[in-house]
Symmetry: none
Subunit: 195 residues, 4 copies
DNA sequence: AATGAATGAGGTTTCATTCAT
DNA sequence: AATGAATGAAACCTCATTCAT
C-alpha cells in the first residue's frame, strides 16, 4: 500500500474534520446513486442521499463531471495499489496477474456505479485519473515482463491489452440478464495465458 | 440475404414515397448525429441534419428512445442477415464465424453512432430488437455447432459468449486513443479458436 | 321553421353532394369529440372520427375556432327556430317560454360538446352567430312582452336575462357530480315566473 | 376569521422568508396573467410577471395544474372563512346569506383569473380544494337552516343550490358585453328569498 | 463551511395549419 | 376535392449550477 493520505479533489489542503467526512460521504453516495439511476442521476439525489445540501456537493466537486471523474480516479487508484502489492509478492507471475484481474473484476461487479461513471464521463475523467492509470499501466507492464520470462503468459501481451479486455469485460457487466461476467472473465484469462 | 423490404417502424403499412425517403433519411441522420454528439444528441439536430422538421421525426418515431431503438434493431437485423448468409455458404465453419465477426466489428467501428445508441438506449431498445437478437443467437448457435463438430472451435463456446465478447469489443472502440480495436478483435478470435 | 337550406360555413355556394355529406359528418364528429375530450380535442381526432383527412376538415372550416363557432351557431339557429315556432303557437305565453327553456336545457344537457365549444370559443364564435343570437333575442323579447301583458311573467324580465340565466345553467351542467341541472332549471324558471 | 398562517402548497413546513415571498408573488402573478390570457396562459409568462425564473414556479407548484388548483383552493378558503364569519355574526339569517353572496360575487367579478382557473382546471383542482369546499358547504347548510327557521329563505333551498347558482353566475361574468352580473346576482338572490 | 432556493438555457414533445401528392 | 405527411412555433418541464441566507 502506498498512499498514506487519501487524495482530495484538487488542492491537497487539509480539510476540517467535518468537511473530510462530507467529502467521503458524497463520494459514497455518488457510487450508490449512480449505480441505481445510471449516469442521468441528479446531483440533487446524490446530495439528498449524502444528507447534505447541493451547495456542499459543489463545494467539494466543481462539476458533475468532476465528481464522476473522482469516482473513476479512486477506482484506478485502488487497482494501481493492488498491482503494486502484487509486484511485492512472491509467486508464479501469471498467477499473480490472474489473481489481480479476478479481484478487480469482482470489485467492478460489486460496484455498478463505476460502470456508469466510466460510460458517461467524458475526457475529463480519464485526464483526472491520468497519473493513476499511468502507474497501473507501468506496474502491469512489469508484471507482464516477469510472466513473459517465466513463459506463462501469451508472449505478445501488453499492458494496454489487459486494460482493453478489462474495459470490455466491465462494460458488459449487467448489460443483459443472459450475460455472465464470470464466464467472460474466464475467457479473458484464457486468452492471456500462454499457449 | 433475407429481408426484401426495409422494415418500417411499427405497422408495416406501405408509406408514401416521400415518407419512406424521410424515414430513411432520419435514420441515417440519427446515425451520424449520435456518432458525433453522443447519446445526448438532440432530436432537433437529427431533424436539422435530415433536412426535415422535428415534427416529422416524431411522426416516424414517437420518442427519442424509439429512434435509438430502431437504430439498434437495424444493426441486429444486419448481423442476423449476415449470419444467415454465412450459414448458407460452404467453407471451414470456424473461418465462417471468424469472417462474420471481423465484418461485424468493422461495421461497428465505422458506425460509432450505434455504440452510443446501445449505451444510452434503455430496455426498450433491446425489447424492440428481440426478434433480431433471437435470430442472431439461433443462427450463431448453429454455426458454432458445425465448427464444434469440425473441431476448430473452442469446444465449450456458446452463442452468448460471442455476443458478450463482441459487446465488450464494441464498447471499447474509440474509448481511448491507445485502444486498438483490431488488436482487441484478434484476441477475441484467438480465444474462440480451438486449443 | 324558417331556414330552408342549412347555411354553410361562409360562402353559400352549393357543394357537391359528397362535400355536403362530409360537412355534416365533420360537424357531427366535432360534437362527439369535443364532448369527450373537451376544448383541447385535436382536429386530427375530429378528422379521424369523421373518417376524413385533416385537410378535408380544413377545407370546410378554415380554423379550429371556426369549427367551434359553427357548432355554436347551429345551436343558436336551433334555439331561434324553436322560439319562432313558439311565437306561432297559441297558449299561455309564460307556459310557452317555460316549454322553450326546458327543451333548450334538455338539448344542451344531451350535447356536452356545445358547452365545451362555448367555453373555449373566443370572440369569433359569438360574432359568427350574431345573426342567430339577434333573432333569438328579438323573438324572445316578443314572447316576454306577451307574457308581461298576461301578467304571468316577472314584470322586469328582459330577453338578456333569460340568455344570461341559461348560460349560467348550461355552464354548470356536468361540472360537478352533485350538481343537478334539472333542479337548477326549476330555480331559473321560478325566478322568471310572476309573483 | 380562522386561518392564521396563509396555507402553503403541500407540506406545511415553514419556508424561508424569500421563498414565502416568492410563493405569494407567483400566486398573485398567476391571478393576473390567467385573467389576461385565459387558461392558455403560459407558465413562462407567470414567471416573468412575478420576476422569477420558471424553475422557481415549478419548485413551488409541481405542475401548471397544481398552480391553477391552488388558486381555486385559496378562493374557496376565502369563501369558507367568510361563511364562518357570517355564522358568528348576529342579524337576520337571510340577510347574512345575501351579504355573503354579494361579497363573494364582487370578489369573483374583480378577479377574472379565478374564472379561467376554474374553467381549465381539471379534477385535481376540485380535489385539492375538497376540504375547503366541504367546509363551505357545511357552514352554508347551517346558515340556510337558520334562515329556514326564520322563514326568510325559500324553504327547499340546499347548500348545493347556492353553489350551483353561484357557479352559473360566475361563469357568465364578462362572457358577453351585454351580460350584467349585478342583474344576474339580483335574480339569484330573489330566487333564494322566501315566497 | 453549509444550505437549499433560485436560475434559465435547453430538452422533449404537441398540434394547428400547410401543401405536395 | 381529398388525403395525410410535413412543418415548426411554442408548450411544459428538468436539472446543472449559482448565490443569498
Amino acid at each position: 500500500m502506498t498512499t498514506k493520505t487519501p487524495p482530495l479533489s484538487e488542492t491537497d489542503r487539509p480539510l476540517r474534520a467535518d468537511a473530510r467526512r462530507n467529502h467521503e460521504r458524497i463520494l459514497e453516495s455518488a457510487r450508490v446513486v449512480f449505480a441505481q439511476a445510471g449516469p442521468d442521476a441528479q446531483i440533487d439525489d446524490v446530495a439528498r442521499h449524502a444528507g447534505v445540501g447541493v451547495g456542499t456537493v459543489y463545494r467539494h466537486f466543481p462539476t458533475k463531471e468532476a465528481l464522476l471523474a473522482e469516482l473513476v480516479r479512486q477506482k484506478f487508484r485502488l487497482f494501481a495499489d493492488r498491482a503494486r502489492d502484487a509486484l511485492a509478492k512472491d509467486g508464479e507471475p501469471f498467477a499473480l496477474i490472474e489473481g489481480l484481474i479476478r479481484r478487480n473484476a469482482a470489485t467492478a461487479a460489486s460496484d455498478a456505479g463505476i460502470q456508469y461513471a466510466l460510460a458517461s464521463a467524458g475526457e475529463q475523467a480519464w485526464t483526472q485519473a491520468q497519473a493513476e492509470q499511468d502507474e497501473l499501466l507501468a506496474v502491469t507492464a512489469e508484471l507482464i515482463e516477469r510472466a513473459r520470462r517465466a513463459g506463462t503468459i501469451r508472449p505478445d501481451v501488453e499492458a494496454t491489452d489487459i486494460g482493453m479486455l478489462m474495459c470490455g469485460l466491465c462494460s458488459t457487466m449487467g448489460a443483459r440478464p443472459d450475460f455472465d461476467w464470470r464466464r467472460h472473465l474466464d475467457l479473458v484469462i484464457d486468452v492471456l495465458r500462454a499457449g
